[in-house]
Symmetry: C2
Subunit: 366 residues, 2 copies
Amino acid sequence: MKLNGEQRRTIWPSADARSVRIIDQTKLPHALEIVELRTVDDAARAIKTMQVRGAPLIGATAAYGLALALRGDATDAGLVNAVAHLAEQRPTAINLKWALGIVRDGVAALPPHQRAARALDIAAEICDEDVENCRLIGMHGRELIRAIADKKRGGAVNILTHCNAGWLACVDWGTATSPIYHAHDAGIAVHVFVDETRPRNQGAALTAFELGQHGVAHTLIVDNAGGHLMQHGEVDIVITGADRVTAEGDAANKIGTYLKALAAHDNGIPFYVAMPSSTIDWTLGDGSTIPIEDRGADEVLYVHGLRENGSLGRVLIAPPNTPACNPSFDVTPARLITGLITERGVAPASRDGLLSLYPERARQRA
Amino acid sequence: MKLNGEQRRTIWPSADARSVRIIDQTKLPHALEIVELRTVDDAARAIKTMQVRGAPLIGATAAYGLALALRGDATDAGLVNAVAHLAEQRPTAINLKWALGIVRDGVAALPPHQRAARALDIAAEICDEDVENCRLIGMHGRELIRAIADKKRGGAVNILTHCNAGWLACVDWGTATSPIYHAHDAGIAVHVFVDETRPRNQGAALTAFELGQHGVAHTLIVDNAGGHLMQHGEVDIVITGADRVTAEGDAANKIGTYLKALAAHDNGIPFYVAMPSSTIDWTLGDGSTIPIEDRGADEVLYVHGLRENGSLGRVLIAPPNTPACNPSFDVTPARLITGLITERGVAPASRDGLLSLYPERARQRA
């Protein structure tokens, strides 16, 4: 995607392949800072502190992080330790474990001195595949938007999204935003209601930012407002991303997604989840078994942003030391999801639906 | 209620009856500032800028504001103009028009020179009646909490509330919080999940503050988190206030209430709305006809709070000039409301339910 007019990905290796560069997403939209990851600890910290976030980008960063680890210690023990270290940085997004598994399986049979270079190649392949998958999600999702546009006879299609499942959450294009960008680029009139997405405000800080960079019409709303807008016919379709989708179609996504799915269902509005197949956890059926990260009280008690003096800072919104809890994801049951938009097409949120797109998974089970 | 250990109301006349004093709620919880209202314009501004807020307190402030107006101009024209001026400050809370109507009707037949003194007496009566109504709401609601406590055999009853329908929203006790305070004072173990309530964070700033002052266990959460907590059995009952309840039991309340009602319904959790009968708009049936205030983009784009240097300030959470919309209330349909807790008892959210408590309204219609 374009950032200040320049074509960018969210993660890329340096020219000498000794480090990897990312955009520090904790500073957006107020500052554009590029961070260099030189070690596995740098990569782990970037994931933990959410300099990178979003299920696909967490996976890509972990893959590069493992390559960086193997530059330092390519022994079997080094490989096992680095995988374990990176895997524990975030619990909910399955792409983290998925990407680490791909890299590990791709290098484990090699002699140690070949592992780092191969891991770097595999990380690049994971990134390229994510870009292509997100592009395909966009092509499939665009047709859902086009069908609504046809019914509205030229009126803008109003899309509500939650959190940032944009190109900043992936390597390029995004998951939930890819259909939006593809529709916009195809000349379909779209307008996006952007949930701010407390506590970290990824909607306000990241989704509003990237939609603005791409020239897509959008309106920022508080997380509380979406139900009211749906009651009043102002939302035609909801598209969100996911951090983990079970084999039965339950979807873990940023906290609050479930509330929007309930409101969409109550108002007869289609609710889609867009994600690459790397986000599917084929080992789980019931979404209530997905581990949900708790990120601590400070994210609830403080809000970060740009101060009036132009520096970044935070304000306390409650009495000091107010007890707070901060579950970071919730699970939307498949019954509330109209469909899953994947790189292979759109499927019902069910085991049969997913297997219709990924029949090789049925063969594996048989 | 007690504030720093001292018994307080949210509004009270000065000793010489020439002015009225309020707590500036835009400064809470970080600073306790008392503001003196000397003129009708002071009262109008306090309502408009939300130095006072909450349906019952808006009504009480408007009543005193009208008394202040009549000190300056007690003619028929002065009365009409002051009522119109005060009524237009906030559109959704019906208590504003209700209180102005009570004062107007109580002074209109008097000679002008008697009007100001009588208006002041009526305003005081409105306040006393609100205190008594909130106390009765608490007595009735306490029994709902007690019934859950009995089933839990000593485990704390987990109550979720949205926005601030506390004593700060009323003259004393609160509406949604009154059952909580009465249960707590009766020795029933309660714990409150407090929705922060973006965009103005009245939950974080006011409800967490007053529960803390009263010693009630509570946990602050982002507005997105309530559905997840309900899915996981962590909420036993939801109690909110209301800004206007129709004769058929639809309830307008702070934006986001509808989403929590949907989640409560989806998880089989009782959802109650607590309000005095002054919040009932007997002229409306369908809640979708309630006027919904739009408070503008800045409340969405900026978050106010305590800066690290100890002063109050705000931070920008989105790209500058991001378009935003800010509907401030939504309407929860009666079908999602388990019951209405009023000063006369608990009724189903329906015309028949309300008429069972207020039969004189049926006679008026006949």
